[in-house]
C-alpha cells in the first residue's frame, strides 16, 4: 500500500460512480445535450486520469506511513463537530457551544477551571458578536437560550 494507490483507487471509484450516474441521467444527443452529458464525461476524464497514477503506484515500493498521527484526537475533534451540529437545534446555542468549547479546551490539556472559564467567556462573546451584533438567528434551547 502506498499513498498514490489509495488516492488513485478512491478517485477511480468516484469516477465510475459519476459516469454510471451520468449515463443513467441521459446523455442526450450532440445537438441537444442531456443532463447526464457533463457528469458522464467528467467521470470518464477523472477515471482516465486516475489510471496513470494507479499504474505508477503499483510499480513503486514506497509504503504508506501513517504512524505518529494522533487519530484519537482527530476523531474526537471530528466527533465534537458532528455532535455540535446534531445537538445545536434541539439543545440551543448556549449550552452546546459551551460543551463543545469545554471539550476542545480540555482535549489540549487546559485545566478544568481554566477550560470552564474560557468556554464561558467565549460562549458569551460569540453570542454577543453573532447574536446581538450581526443578528444571526442562533437556535434557542427548550430553556429559552
Amino acid at each position: 500500500m502506498n499513498k498514490d494507490l489509495v488516492g488513485s483507487l478512491f478517485w477511480l471509484g468516484v469516477a465510475v460512480f459519476a459516469a454510471v450516474h451520468g449515463f443513467a441521467l441521459g446523455l442526450g444527443t450532440v445537438q441537444r445535450p442531456g443532463p447526464g452529458l457533463f457528469p458522464f464525461w467528467g467521470g470518464v476524464v477523472l477515471g482516465l486520469l486516475s489510471l496513470p497514477l494507479l499504474i505508477r503506484a503499483l510499480s513503486t515500493a514506497e509504503r504508506l506511513s501513517l504512524s505518529g498521527i494522533r487519530w484519537w484526537t482527530l476523531g474526537l475533534v471530528a466527533g465534537a463537530l458532528l455532535g455540535y451540529l446534531l445537538f445545536l437545534e434541539p439543545l440551543g446555542f448556549a449550552l452546546v457551544t459551551f460543551l463543545f468549547l469545554f471539550l476542545l479546551f480540555r482535549l489540549e490539556h487546559a485545566g478544568w477551571a481554566r477550560s470552564a472559564m474560557w468556554s464561558l467567556l467565549a460562549t458569551a462573546g460569540s453570542w454577543a458578536l453573532f447574536g446581538l451584533w450581526l443578528k444571526t438567528q442562533l437556535p434557542r434551547g427548550p430553556w429559552g437560550f
Binding site: K3, V14, L49, S50, A78, L81, L101, F105, Q137
Partner: protein
Amino acid sequence: MEIFQGVLYGFQVALQPINLLYCFIGVFVGTLVGVLPGIGPAAAIALLLPSTFAASPVSAIIMLAGVYYGAMYGGSTTSILVNIPGEAASVVTAMDGYAMARQGRAGPALGISAFGSFIAGTLSVIALTFLAPLLARVSLSFGPPEYFALMLLGITLVTYFAQGSMLKALMMASAGLLLGTVGADTISGRQRFVFGIQTLADGIGLVPVIMGLFGISEVLLNLEQAGGRTREIFASPTRGLLPNREDWRRSAMPILRGSILGFFLGILPGSGAIIASFASYAVEKRASKTPERFGTGMIEGVAGPEAANNAAAGGGFIPLLTLGIPANAVMAILLGALMIHGLQPGPLLVKQAPDVFWGIITSMYVGNVMLLVLNLPLIGLWVRLLKTPYQLLFPLILLFCLIGTYSLSNNVGDGIVMLVFGILGYLLKKFDFEGAPLILAMVIGPMMEEALRQSLILSAGSFTIFLERPISAGFILAAALLLILPLITRRSGVAKAWRSVPEESAE
C-alpha cells in the same frame, strides 16, 4: 475620459462613511487573519460572507476584498518576526526577512514590506483602473464558445501552476467539475447526484466547502502531531521601522519589478499571490550582483516578493470583474458574494452596477492607505496576538466555522457538508492532492457546462465551433499547449521553484 469619471464616481462611493467603515473592518480582519497561522483569507472571507447579507452589495464586497489584500500585509509580519508565514504568499519573505530580524533589522524589514506592499498595491490598482474597463469591452463580444474555451484555459492554467503533480491537479479539477454538477440541472431541471438529500438539491454550497477544505482541514493538520506549537518571537520590532536611504535605494527596483510581475501573474487563473512572490524572489536573485547572499538578510528579497503578492491580489480582480471568472479560491467566494447580492460579475458589471465596479476598485486605494497607517503602529499588537496559544485558538476557529455555515441558511445540513469536506480536505493533503483546483473547477463547472451546451446548440452539435472562431481557437490552442508541454519538457522554473512551499501553508 470615461475612466476618469468612473474613478471619480468610485471615490464618491468608497469615501462614504459607511463604506469607509466596512473597508476598515475588512483590512483589519484581513491583517488579523494574515497574522494568525491556521486560517487563511479564503476561509475568513467565507466566514464573513453571511455577516454581509444585511449590507449593501458595494459595502459587502468592499469589506470582503479588504480581507484579501489585508491578509497579504499581515502575512509578512509573522514571516519576518517568527519565521512562520501566516499566509502562503509570505513564505519567501521569511527567507530574508527573518534573517534580517536575526540581525536586529526587523524594523526596516517590516517597514519595507509595508511600504513595498503599499506602493505595489497602489500601482496594481492604477493598472486595474485602466485595464478592467478595456477588457470588459473586449469580452462583451464573447459568446458561449469563447467563454467555454476561456474557462477551459483557466482550469488548465490552475493545474499547470499547481504545487505538486500536474496529473493530480488535473484529477482534482475533474472532481471539482463533477461536484459542480450536483443539484438541479439548469437546462432540464433534473436532479443530479442529490439522492433525496435536501441540502444538495440546490447544489453543494461554496462557503461550506471552502470552510471545510481551508478551515477545518487546516485545524486537523495542526492537531495531528502531539506537542504544542511554541513560537519564539525574535526581536522587539516597535522602534526604528523606517528603512534608511540605502534600504530604499536597494529596494526601489525590486518593488517596481515585483509590482509589474505580480500584477500580470495575478491575472492568470491559479497562479495568484503565491506564485507571484516566488517568481519575484527568483527574478531578484537573478538580477542581483550577489545572488549568493540571498537568504542571509537581503532587503531585496523582502521588498520584491512583498510587492509582488500585493500587486497580484489586485490583478486577481481583473478576470472576476471583467469576465466573471474567478482566478483563485478567494475570487471564487467573491464571485459567490456578488451573486448572492444579485449581481452578475462579468463584462456587463461596469454598465449595470457602476457603483460596485468603481467602488471596489477605488476602495482598494483607500484600503491601501488604511493598511499603511494601520500596520506600522499596530505591529506591537500583532506580535502580542501571535503569542496566543494554539490550544486557545483552534476551538474558536472551529466554532466560527460552525456558526458561519449555520448562519448561511439556518440549516445544519451546510454544517455537515463543511465537516465532510474538512475531513476530505485533511485526507487530500495527506495524500498529496491540492484543494485549490477542486474549488475553482467546482465554481467554474456550472458556467462551463452551460457554455458548452449552449455552444453545441448554437452549432447544431458540431464541436468545430470552438476552432472556427478565432478567439476561442486561440484559447483552446493555449490550453492544449499547456497540457502537452509538461509531457515534452519539464515544467517552468516558477512552477518548480514554488514546489518548495511547505505543504501546510499551500492555501
